[in-house]
Symmetry: C2
Subunit: 237 residues, 2 copies
């Protein structure tokens, strides 16, 4: 029945989901409500923290992720996207439970990277420590021939992990100072482009991104572009 | 199973839904994802235009509204809100189909009005022509003892209806000029407070609202406050 709906497995975090939806509305070519993409959102923000499970002994988010995937499939969504990079550590398990195709945020980011800066060869990646530890970006980007530049484990601990926690508590200015240090470290190590490989990070880097938009690939924005590509026949019909 | 979820019947329009969700995240007292309110969103933006049905011969949105209400009830949401004023013309029919309580955006706006400006006696209302024609605000506000100031039918036709259409097509600056004329007309007629009784209108009035925030009651923001009041025991537990 709802085969024109996009399924969104969200809430990780809730603001990243809103950012995704807002950007989807803004980028869809539509003059009236009825030309936009119908959305079913399952946003269970009580899903256990992804990184806390990937790098420590936190509860697994997988049962709640699969609840969401099953829910969205019950309603025959046309495709599912997940505006959270770290959750993609369970991508294969989720896809195995889903009749609807899942769009992959890392592949979407790699596509935007190639489109936005075809000459870049060294790419910096800012992400959660969980995404880093699972090699979600490094494996994909290595396969595409890029040199991947990441923070060290100590830099994750001192800069990135506290900055993401500040973001989630709406402490933007404090987070920004830490992200800026981390960004400059990656640039010093030769990164030509910086992938914001955590959907929370852009909220803490708005000023930095605005001052040099071509330097950054925003994974959440890349996911929006992948959705619009997928739904284009609907939105233009 | 999902009794902690808020149900949102959205997509009318899609950007108003995003604005509602964004404001909900910002206003919820939470330091981590897991303290936010879980959300199920049914956003069928193909729902026929509400005003086109209320004031002309457009298709009825009721069947699609009821699809959404039934869907949200299947998943045992705790309450349902609808970030679209005009859709409240069908509030009673929707509530009759819903086990979950529906929060009423006009009552939420009236509550914010009394809290924000307890001395005001004359209230201007900017809304769709459909909301106006159905008397959604005037009946509630009259009952509370307010004098209600609205545009004339000619002013709806020349100012409000085209401005809302511009909003929906992302033409903010053009819309703002029309809203400003309409706002000044209501102020000239004695309005002390202006209720933005259409969830699309705030996007076209951001500068005007920022320059004098106490003058305005934003119905979408009022709905967020009603939701947070309702879910407070969950968010603070």
């Amino acid at each position: 029945m709802n085969t024109t709906f996009l399924g969104v497995l969200g809430g990780m975090g809730p603001l990243a989901t809103v950012d995704f939806l807002r950007n989807l509305v803004r980028k869809t070519k539509a003059d009236v409500d009825q030309e936009h993409i119908p959305v079913l959102l399952y946003s269970d923000c009580t899903t256990p923290d992804r990184t806390a499970n990937l790098v420590a002994s936190g509860a697994s988010p997988l049962p709640k992720l699969l609840n969401g995937i099953r829910f969205l499939n019950q309603h025959k969504v046309r495709a599912i996207c997940i505006p959270c990079n770290s959750a993609h550590a369970w991508f294969d398990q989720m896809q195995a439970e889903s009749e609807a195709p899942l769009l992959h945020i890392v592949q979407a980011s790699a596509a935007q990277l190639r489109r936005k800066n075809p000459k870049a060869s060294a790419v910096g990646v800012l992400s959660t420590f969980g995404t880093y530890r699972m090699g979600l970006y490094s494996s994909t980007l290595h396969d595409l021939g890029y040199r991947v530049v990441t923070p060290t484990e100590a830099e994750f601990e001192m800069l990135i992990t506290p900055a993401i926690a500040m973001n989630k508590a709406n402490k933007w200015a404090e987070a920004e100072a830490l992200y800026e240090v981390a960004m400059n470290i990656l640039l010093d190590r030769g990164a030509e482009v910086i992938v914001l490989g955590c959907t929370e990070i852009p909220f803490g880097m708005e000023r930095l991104v605005r001052s040099n938009p071509t330097r950054f690939v925003d994974s959440n924005d890349a996911l929006v572009e992948a959705v619009i590509d997928r739904f284009a026949p609907v939105t233009t019909s």
